[in-house]
Symmetry: C2
């Protein structure tokens, strides 16, 4: 490998080569998973490139192809399955320098990939009273390109569904990994090729996103006698098309009390909680809805004015808050398919009790109100974790395994032939974020097959101290 040759050929680029810094920029939130922590701890690149514009990106890509050097794109590095970790070393491409908003019009914004979600929202709110339809709970740190390449849904998905749904991304500008990189504009159904592909088949430099009206959102925390009552409330809220809302998360009794430091003073012992965001004009409608399910309002704060917004206690932040208190915890990502979701929730709660404290997020999926589980798990062994996953799947709750770093194993457990075909065109040498698309390394892969993979870095690399605040 000749990372040095790439660096030498591009002196105008801003490079990071200090090994400690490079190692930090080669990591993300993979350590949420004890399994990934064991597997990926030693992973590191040899250098990080920090381009300032698309021309520099194209130059880096061409040089990497010339010297056959792996290139792994990186936004803010908040992925939680090692998405942005350079399994085969080489160069990390830091995209945060592409931080320009290209244009804004009512209902639509076009921005460079490295724009932070919080900056994007502030801009569109100011310019056209719009905001992203939904964002991950990492809004304050993550990039729009990283969200599209590595995320899926989040705060706002209770109204608009997932990124993958038609219309939630309008256009992607993608650079191919070829001797002479091409600039492609993906639109319509072509967007699926690069959406949630972990940057394995092109570097996204610009995104075109539809906007939602930017309401004045209000965080409301409500207490309920049990998880199911809170869940039924959350579902009813999401089914209310007349109420503008952005979030409906639920945690079982004990979760908020033990792990949500900021909220502890408000939450009575034994209460399950719903965490919601509602637009200001609709607040007066919450009370009757709460009454219907035995709920009580515990806390209310304008989202913008909150020191820590309520969304940083939902989605994958729930796990983060819990990890701050107890490093032995980990998590799952499951679906409770309608219409039997409540029965399944009840069954899993009974089956696992305090070993798997429930955390639910209500969303719309293909137009149907749907319940995701991002349960906490009191981790003991990898075997037991696998058992817990198997019991869920056997019961009819598909698991999107957050303890796997490949697209296929974490996703639908099938080969996405559209993304694979696009990789053949856009990354024919297989240099982009290698090791993440199983079907590329092994086109005959099936979910039953065991894998071996090559990880760049020392197997016995010392731990990096993870900072949780």
């Amino acid at each position: 490998m000749t990372v040095a040759a790439v660096i030498d050929s591009l002196p105008q680029i801003d490079w990071i080569t200090d090994p400690a810094l490079v190692r930090l920029k080669s990591r993300d939130f993979f350590w949420y998973s004890p399994v990934l922590k064991r597997q990926l701890n030693g992973v590191t690149a040899e250098a990080v490139a920090c381009p300032k514009d698309e021309a520099e990106i194209i130059a880096i890509m061409a040089a990497c192809v010339k010297h056959q050097v792996p290139l792994t794109p990186r936004g803010a590095g908040t992925g939680n399955y090692g998405q942005a970790m350079p399994l085969k070393g080489g160069i990390v491409l830091d995209l945060m320098g592409l931080d320009r908003i290209v244009w804004t019009k009512p209902g639509v914004v076009r921005a460079q990939a490295g724009v932070k979600l919080i900056d994007l929202d502030a801009h569109t709110r100011r310019e056209v009273r719009g905001e992203l339809r939904f964002h991950p709970s990492t809004k304050r740190t993550a990039s729009i390109g990283g969200f599209i390449a590595g995320g899926s849904s989040g705060i706002g998905s209770c109204t608009y569904g997932k990124l993958r749904e038609f219309g939630n991304i309008l256009g992607l500008r993608v650079i191919t990994m070829e001797a002479e990189p091409r600039v492609l504009e993906l639109r319509g159904t072509d967007i699926d090729k690069a959406n949630h592909a972990y940057g394995t088949n092109g570097i996204i430099t610009e995104v075109e996103m539809p906007l939602a009206p930017a309401w004045d959102w209000v965080d409301v925390l409500a207490g309920f006698p049990d998880t199911l009552s809170a869940a039924r409330f959350a579902e009813a809220l999401i089914a209310s098309d007349g109420i503008a809302k952005k979030m409906a998360g639920v945690v079982a009794p004990g979760v908020a009390q033990t792990y949500f430091k900021m909220l502890q003073p408000y939450v009575p012992a034994g209460a399950a909680c719903a965490l919601v965001m509602v637009a200001e004009p609709f607040l007066e409608l919450l009370k009757p809805l709460l009454d219907r399910f035995g709920g009580t309002e515990l806390y209310r704060c304008e989202t913008e004015k909150a020191e820590t917004p309520l969304y940083e206690f939902t989605w994958n932040h729930t796990t983060l808050q819990a990890l701050k208190v107890d490093r032995s915890l980990t998590y799952l990502q499951t679906l409770y398919p309608p219409p039997n979701h409540f029965a399944l929730i009840e069954k899993m709660e009974k089956t696992f009790g305090d070993e798997v404290p429930l955390h639910l997020e209500f969303v719309r999926l293909n137009g149907v109100v749907t319940c995701f589980g991002l349960q906490l798990v009191r981790y003991t062994t990898e075997e037991r974790l696998q058992q817990i996953i198997d019991i869920h799947e056997d019961a009819g709750c598909p698991v999107f395994n957050p303890h796997a770093f490949t697209l296929e194993e974490g996703g639908m457990k099938r080969i996405d032939s559209e993304q694979l075909d696009f990789k053949r065109i856009a990354d024919p040498h297989g240099l982009l974020n290698p090791g993440k698309m199983l079907a590329w390394d092994d086109p005959d892969w099936t979910p039953e097959r065991k894998r071996t993979f090559y990880l760049y870095g020392q197997a016995d690399a010392p731990d990096v101290e993870e900072v949780l605040e």
Copy 2:
């Protein structure tokens, strides 16, 4: 009755007393129904009051109570079940003089009841890039107060549901019919008391409505091999939370070809049609969706620029367009409850064939994509019409009977005790739009019971020439 006494006591009010004019202002689109046409043709008031502000309304109401004169509110008179017709004579209260917008802020508008929907939308679009979440197909003529008091849903309900759903009306200012009329502000669940009450339990003077983003809408007409393919397309569109859309109507083969004059040149023989409104940025997503269901785009036009917008071929306008060609037609209003809606549609299409040409509107109802039928009916006799209704209901398709002028018979066929209780408070003398709330006249009413009612006017009144252009 002493209408004359009321008029004499209020010389400052603008009165209409010319009998021909009064009779015109006593009518609405009741003649859509041959049954209502027979029953209500002779109905007329004795005078029409045209107040310019709330103070004048209060003065009129107090005088009517004093002299025990029936008072029937009226917006633009586009109701299609005789909602605004003064069954017991007295005075019609024309509210179109209350045409002021009270205030506008992002996402919410407050307006007087007589503001025309088209003026309201133009205002909020200009001021805050917002528009009403949905409007009846009579947008160009109807009033916001009349829509709330007499309507239910319409163009935009595919995203936001019905007026009755929580959050679709934020506030109503209502004047009670008492010796000293009170001014009430109904909010939250209290709104149900006066929403869709035909003005039987209070006069609405102001409404507070949530707004949707004002997209640049585009009308698209698409052709399909059959009604079910068009219906499946419409359902898929409505289930796509990522696509901003405002309408998804479907008509069976023959309907557009025979009755939609403006569209005839575009529609091939034998095609079923879908009539949709999609926001401009999402237009490029229509093609793949059409392909999926064998559809072809036939016609496209910006809604604002169309001579006749496509929505004037949907909802109750479909019937109007058909009536322009064939005066012997009438219609139904049914629900095809999910999840068996397609089977029910198919069954009804087979059962009735060309006697009941299908017309469907896809909406969301309590968060679920749902299909309404506003079928055309080739009318023969009242008995056969009743048979057609019965066959639908027996098959599991509830009918909201448009051939009945009372709230109960046209609605859920049960007494709405909340509205009845409110009438006891807000109209203790039973003077407001009398004869429309069955439960008031006969609290023991059940759907099985036959009724007699008193109609003001001549039983043998000559027909008024209905103008259809």
